[in-house]
Symmetry: C2
Subunit: 502 residues, 2 copies
C-alpha cells in the first residue's frame, strides 16, 4: 500500500527541488555535478517512472494528521512562486516594477468580451429551485445545455445525452473524484510527461492515487516524427515497468490539446491509445480543457467525442471546463461526460463536496446556449487575439535564438533553455527559474511538468501586449546577462517545488 506510515515520514531529500526526484538524484548525490554534460546521457534517461508525491515531504506542523501535513506541505511549497508574485504583482500604474506572471495558464485576452456577456441582465436570475439543494449531478437544465454544447463543439457523431453529464466545480475536482472512484489507495494512472503537474496533487491529496510517468523526450529518432511524441509502444513499456514494480495501473490520462506542449493528438493516435487502454482494461480520462483554444486553423483538432467508435466507451471519460476555453478559472465550472452510469453516479455522490452554486449553474447554462455569441463573437476574436500574442512571443523567441515547441493550441510555448544551463541538472534549471523571478518574471520550470530533460520552461503568451513586451524584455535580460552573473552570489535553492503549474 502507498499510504505512508505516520510514524515514519520519509526523510527530506538532500539536493533537489522537486516532488519526485528518484530518477535524478544520482546526478547530485555523487558529488560530481561539475562533470554533468549539458545534454543528459540518453542511456540514463528512463522510459517510465512511478511518482511518489511525498518523497520530498518534511514538516512538523502540530495538530495535523500525517496526511494533513502532506496536504499542507503541498500548499507551502507549490505556492511559493505565486506567493512571491502576489506580494509584488505588476501593475502598469501602481507597481510597474512588479512581477509579470507568465507562469499561470490563464487567458487574459478576453476579459472585455466576457465582462460584457456576463454582465447582461439574463445572467442574474433567482428562483427558489436555484437556492435549494440541487441534484448533485447538476441541474437538468444545465446538463441539457452541456450535452448540446459538447455535441456541437466536439462534433459528436450522435447527440450527447444529459444523463451522461455530471457538472462540478472545476477540472481539479473531477480528477480528484475520478481517481477516488476508479482506483484504490496506492493504485495509479499512466500519464505521458511533460504534463500539467497539478494533476499529481489532484489525484493524490484526497484519493492517494499515484501517477506512472511515461517519459517522452525531445529527440526525434526512429519512428517518432516530432519531439515528445507519445506512442502506444511507450505506453506499453511504461505499463510493463509499473507492473513489474508491483504498481497496479488502473487508467491512462491524456490531455488533448496537450499542456505544456501545445500539441494535439491526431485521430489515428487517439484511436491507438484508446485501443492500448482497451487491451489492458484501463480507464482513459481525456482532459479536453483546451479544446476550443486551438487558434491555428491548420491544426485539425478532433475531440475524442467526435470519433466514430470508442473502443471501450464504458471506460472512456471526458472532461471539459470553462476555465481555459472561456478564460474564467475563477468561475469554477467543469463537467464530466461518460457513458458509464456507475462512474457518473459515483462521481455525483462525491459532488456533495464539489458542488457549484445554483446561480452559477444558471449563468453557465445561459452562456453555453448562446451559440451565436460563442461562434460569431467570442471564439473568432479570442482565436485572433491568441494568434497575435502567440506570433509576438514566437518572433521574440526566434530573435533570441531560443528553440521552442508550440503548434497552435493552448496558451503556452514550451521553450528549450538547455543551452543556458551549465550542467544538465534540475538544480541548474531551478537557479535559472529563480533568476527569472529575481528579474521579475514568473515562468514555470520543466521539472514541475516532470519533464525528464532539465532546461525546458513553459511561457504563457495569452496576456496583454504590454505585459508580454515587458515579460519578454525581462527574459531577454536574464538570458543575455546569464554568463555575467557570479554563481556564488546566488541564493541556495531550497528543497521545495517552486512552480507548481496552474
Amino acid at each position: 500500500m502507498f499510504t505512508p506510515d505516520p510514524k515514519d515520514p520519509p526523510a527530506p531529500p538532500t539536493c533537489l527541488g522537486s516532488a519526485s526526484t528518484q530518477d535524478m538524484a544520482s546526478s547530485c548525490q555523487d558529488g560530481r555535478e561539475e562533470e554533468c554534460p549539458r545534454e543528459p546521457d540518453p542511456k540514463r534517461l528512463k522510459l517510465y517512472g512511478v511518482g511518489n508525491p511525498i518523497s520530498m515531504f518534511s514538516s512538523d506542523s502540530s495538530c495535523l494528521s500525517f496526511r494533513g501535513r502532506v496536504i499542507k506541505w503541498f500548499w507551502d511549497s507549490a505556492e511559493e512562486g505565486y506567493r512571491t508574485f502576489h506580494m509584488d504583482e505588476y501593475d502598469e500604474d501602481k507597481n510597474p516594477s512588479g512581477i509579470i506572471n507568465l507562469g499561470t495558464s490563464e487567458n487574459k485576452l478576453c476579459f472585455d468580451l466576457l465582462s460584457h456577456r456576463l454582465s447582461q441582465s439574463d445572467m442574474l436570475w433567482i428562483e427558489p429551485s436555484l437556492l435549494q439543494y440541487p441534484d448533485w449531478r447538476g441541474h437538468l437544465f444545465l446538463r441539457e445545455e452541456v450535452a448540446k454544447f459538447l455535441s456541437f463543439y466536439c462534433k459528436s457523431s450522435a447527440p450527447l445525452k444529459p444523463e451522461n453529464v455530471v457538472v462540478l466545480n472545476g477540472g481539479a475536482s473531477l480528477f480528484s473524484a475520478l481517481a477516488t472512484v476508479l482506483c484504490e489507495v496506492g493504485e495509479a494512472f499512466l500519464i505521458p510527461t511533460p504534463y500539467y503537474g497539478a494533476i499529481t496533487q489532484h489525484v493524490y491529496l484526497y484519493g492517494s492515487v499515484r501517477l506512472v510517468y511515461v517519459y517522452l523526450d525531445s529527440k526525434v529518432t526512429g519512428q517518432d516524427t516530432r519531439p515528445f511524441q507519445l506512442t502506444a509502444e511507450k505506453l506499453e513499456l511504461a505499463l510493463q515497468g509499473a507492473n513489474a514494480e508491483g504498481v497496479k495501473v488502473k487508467g491512462l490520462i491524456l490531455i488533448n490539446p496537450q499542456n505544456p506542449l501545445g500539441d494535439i493528438y491526431s485521430p489515428r493516435e487517439l484511436q491507438e491509445f484508446l485501443e492500448f487502454a482497451k487491451r489492458h482494461e484501463l480507464h482513459v480520462i481525456v482532459d479536453e480543457v483546451y479544446m476550443l483554444s486551438v487558434f491555428e486553423e491548420s491544426l485539425e483538432y478532433r475531440s475524442v467525442l467526435s470519433l466514430e467508435r470508442l473502443p471501450d466507451p464504458q471506460r472512456t471519460h471526458v472532461m471539459w471546463a470553462t476555465s481555459k476555453d472561456f478564460g474564467m478559472s475563477g468561475m469554477r465550472f467543469g463537467t464530466l461526460y461518460t457513458e458509464n452510469q456507475h462512474v457518473a453516479t459515483s462521481v455525483a455522490s462525491l459532488c456533495r463536496y464539489h458542488g457549484l452554486s445554483g446561480l452559477v449553474q444558471y449563468q453557465m447554462a445561459r452562456l453555453l446556449q448562446d451559440r451565436d455569441w460563442i461562434s460569431h463573437v467570442y471564439l473568432p476574436e479570442n482565436h485572433a487575439r491568441l494568434k497575435a500574442a502567440h506570433t509576438y512571443v514566437s518572433e521574440e523567441l526566434k530573435a533570441l535564438g531560443i528553440p521552442f515547441l508550440s503548434r497552435g493550441a493552448g496558451f503556452f510555448i514550451w521553450i528549450d533553455l538547455r543551452k543556458y544551463l551549465h550542467m544538465a541538472t534540475f538544480e541548474e534549471e531551478m537557479l535559472l527559474w529563480r533568476r527569472f523571478l529575481d528579474n521579475k518574471v514568473l515562468l514555470s520550470l520543466g521539472k514541475a511538468f516532470e519533464c525528464q530533460e532539465p532546461g525546458w520552461f513553459r511561457v504563457i503568451f495569452s496576456d496583454k501586449a504590454q505585459r508580454l513586451r515587458l515579460g519578454m524584455q525581462r527574459i531577454r535580460q536574464v538570458l543575455e546577462s546569464k554568463s555575467q552573473v557570479s554563481e556564488d552570489n546566488l541564493p541556495c535553492p531550497n528543497k521545495k517545488l517552486h512552480d507548481q503549474p496552474r
Copy 2:
C-alpha cells in the same frame, strides 16, 4: 486499519435498513421479533458505538474501485426517499396529490426576501480578478466580511480575523476537509446521537474517517434535566469505550444549535465539553450552521466564538454556512473559523476541490456586509415566520397527542412516534416511514440520525402554511389509520438506508 480489503467486501446484512446495525441486529436475527417490547430494554441500550459506514455495503457495479462502489452505494441508498419525492413532487396546481417534503432541512419561508435582495443590481459584478484563479482560502474581501459578520453575530469578545477564515462550497466540504487533515484513515470523531446523519458520509467518503456515537436517550434520569442530554461524563465513557476497542479518537463534533433536537448548549455545557476535549487533546469541530435560526427569544444562544476564553483555541474549529440561516443550500457557501494556521492552510490546500465562483464570493460579501438588511429586514421576518410555522406544527402535534422535542432553534421538531410501533425495532420504524411516504409525505426517520430508540422522526416545519397543512393532514391520516392497515400487505423493507437527512 479501517480500509476494507477490496477482495473481501463485507457481506450484506440480513435484516435491517440502516448504515450501522451492529447494536440492533440481534433483535431480528434471533427470529423473535414479535416478542420485542415497545420500550427497548434500558440494559440493552449501549452508551456508545463505533460507526462502520460500509457494514451495509453490497454492490457489484463494474469498472469502479471498491471505494467507488461504496461511494455509489451511499448515493443509491441514501437518495431513495428523495428520488421517490422528486419523481412525484407536490405542486399546488400541477400535482396536488404529489409528495410533500417535510424531510429536507431547508427554510422555504423567505424566498421572497432573498429573491428581492439577491436580484438587486449590486449582486452582479464582473471584474477580471473574480474570473481568475482565486486565493484558495477565499478572496480577501470576502474573508474580511466573514470576519466582521461573525464578530458581530457571534458576539465575539474580540474582533475576529480574516486570516483565520477559509471559505469554501458548503459545510459538507468542510467536514470532508477537516476529517482528512485532522485524522488518519480509520481514526474517528466522537459525536452525540441523534445527529445530522449526513456527517457520516462527509467524513468517510473521501476521508475514510469514522464516527464514535455517544448515545443519548430520551429518559430524564439522574443528573439529566432534559431528554437526550449530553454530559461530559457520557463523552468520557464513549471515549474510553472507543479506546478500549482500539479506535483512535481525534476529535469531537458538536452541532449547536443541535440538529435534529432543535436544542442549544448552554455556555456552561459548552465550556465543559471543550474542557473534556482539551483534557484528551481532542479537536472540537463546532457546527453552528443554525446559529441565526434561533427563533425563540427566550433561548439564550451563545456561539462558541463568544466565549471569553477557549480552553484549547488551537484545536477549536468553528463552521458556519449560508445554507440554513439564509435559506440557500443551493448557494454552496460555507466557512471555517480557526486560529490554527496549520489547519487553515491545510484546509485551504484542499479548497482546490471545494472552491466557489468568484462571482458568488462577491455576492456573499455583499450579502454579509448588508447588516441593515440582515438585522432589520431579514432576521426579524425570518424568525417571525419560523415561529409561526413552528407554532402551527406544534399545535397540530399536541392535538394528535404526539410527544415532541423542540426548544425554538432550527427548522425541525423531533417527534416521538414510539407508541405507533408494534415493536421497538428499526424495521418497524422503517415500515412507518414508508407508510408516510406511501401517503405522500416524506419525513426523516430516527435511524438516519443514529438515534438508539426506534420510533423517533424529524419533521421539518420551515415550509409554507399550505404545504404544512397538507403534510400534517397526511401524517394524521397515517397515524389514525395505522391500526387498520394489514401488516401483510406492506412491501418488505429493503436493505437500504432510506432517509439520509439533508
